[in-house]
């Protein structure tokens, strides 16, 4: 078979594959049934390690049990570097509550993502500011406010008085 015909077949088959995946799926959109996720994280140790408590509730308020929850994290300012190995969050025993640990590389703002599969499939993320903690203590990671990642703002701190 001549190279041209081979190449054409390869390209056509690729296009078919692409089109299939790109067609609107048959599964109905689950927009009405997204679970409610509450995330609370604490950081500790050198690393630091991040331990997160996840509370899952269905739309109607019933806790979501038997879900497979995977925790992941990435740094918003350098998305594809600092790959953190995603970890499975285990059920704590309390219905709808899961706990998991992530080994982070740096302090600062992290986008912690909660991947849910099982009864429903969803992905949820939140930006958290991971603080530096003393040796034995555990510090709560606070939701990152916009000023924490001083990237776009002026580097200098706020001027007194007249400057907004």
């Amino acid at each position: 078979m001549t190279p041209n015909l081979r190449a054409t077949r390869l390209i056509l088959s690729c296009v078919c594959a692409v089109l299939t995946l790109a067609l609107p799926g048959q599964v109905a959109a689950q927009s009405g049934s997204r679970p409610k996720v509450t995330l609370q994280c604490v950081s500790f140790g050198i690393g630091p390690m991040l331990e997160c408590l996840i509370d899952l509730q269905g739309r109607d308020g019933t806790p979501l049990e038997t879900a497979q929850v995977t925790l992941g994290a990435l740094m918003p300012s350098m998305p594809m570097a600092h790959t953190i190995r995603p970890t499975r969050a285990e059920s704590t025993g309390k219905p709808g509550q899961y706990i998991g640990r992530l080994e982070l590389e740096m302090l600062g703002v992290w986008s912690v993502s909660v991947d849910i599969s099982g009864p429903v499939r969803d992905k949820w993320s939140q930006n958290l500011l991971v603080h530096d903690c003393d040796e034995k203590a555990r510090c709560a990671a606070t939701p990152a406010a916009r000023g924490d990642d001083v990237h776009m703002g002026r580097h200098r701190g706020a001027q007194p008085g007249h400057r907004p």
Binding site: P79, T83, R121, D122, S125, R146
Partner: protein
Amino acid sequence: MSTAVADSPIPASDAIGAVMQTIRNALGDVLGLGDVAGAHLVGLSSDMAIMSMLALSAYLMLLVGRVSFGQQAFFGLGAYAAGVMTAMFHAPLAVALAVGVSLGALCSWLLAVPTMHLSGLHYAVATLAFGEIARILLGWWVWQRETGDGPVGPAGIDGFRDIRWLLENDVAPSEFLVLTLVLLVLVLAMLMRAERTRLGVALRMTGHDDVLASSHGIPVARIRQFAAALAGGLAALGGGLYAHRTTYIEPAVFDPMLGVHAVGYALLGGLGTALGPLLGVMFDLGLLDASRLFPGWRMVIFGGLVALFLRWRPRGLLDETLVHRLNGFRFFAGSVRAASPLSSGASNPPGRKEISS
């Protein structure tokens, strides 16, 4: 499944759907889906494929002799455009990606027209400035639409949440990986085919020496603008895929370090072939980062290597000389069997191999 295929004519989408199901099962067996490590590998490969597109767009600009630190702006533009199309207008992914690519190509071309006459240095700084301007503009853009679950859409500096097309259409991460890889292969095939055409030769000539190229009649400025448009579209494609992979994008993601890394991948991997940037991406994201062998020293090693390469091997690892040699070797090995040395339009007659090596 096999009996159904034999019995009656199946509509094309069902047959292809069945094929995709088989692929998904096979991948599930190979990668151990449901296992976290397997999912990690799938995610990493998707990241590498997406980053390769960005690296290829930087490579295209380097090919025509321009260093561009602003490709992340088109990456971001493509991400936002594709996200808006799927999350707010419920368009299919193909349409959303196409819109992103067109927008990226258009904006890149619009930037290229007034800046192409600048010297390389000023052009690099101009692209850096444009990258930051685009990021700030994205940080200002707020456009939300109410849905059942609350508002969806770009929320300025707080980012764009809930780009859930993949989740809503039950596309597994492995299927998304296949899609990304297929697109990447298409792009690579296109670029590598183009190398053999007059357009590809003109691109390389422009990069090598623009004065010489224009004396040959090549419209240097137009070629560069075309390359810029192509590069913008490519970056936007990567951005659209990225937005759907992570379901959440914010302007802080598209900062100059991303564009700088893209140029680094292209320069390290090699400018001789479109596979060069891929090598750079696999080296950084695969070896340096994901292997966890050098925690916290990734950019030190990567940056040092790029600087060393630029000093002693400026065209990168897979530079034109190496590619030429590899092609010649392949041809030489094939010519033992082939009767005629000119059958596949090879560039290196067998006699020359002995002389050059």
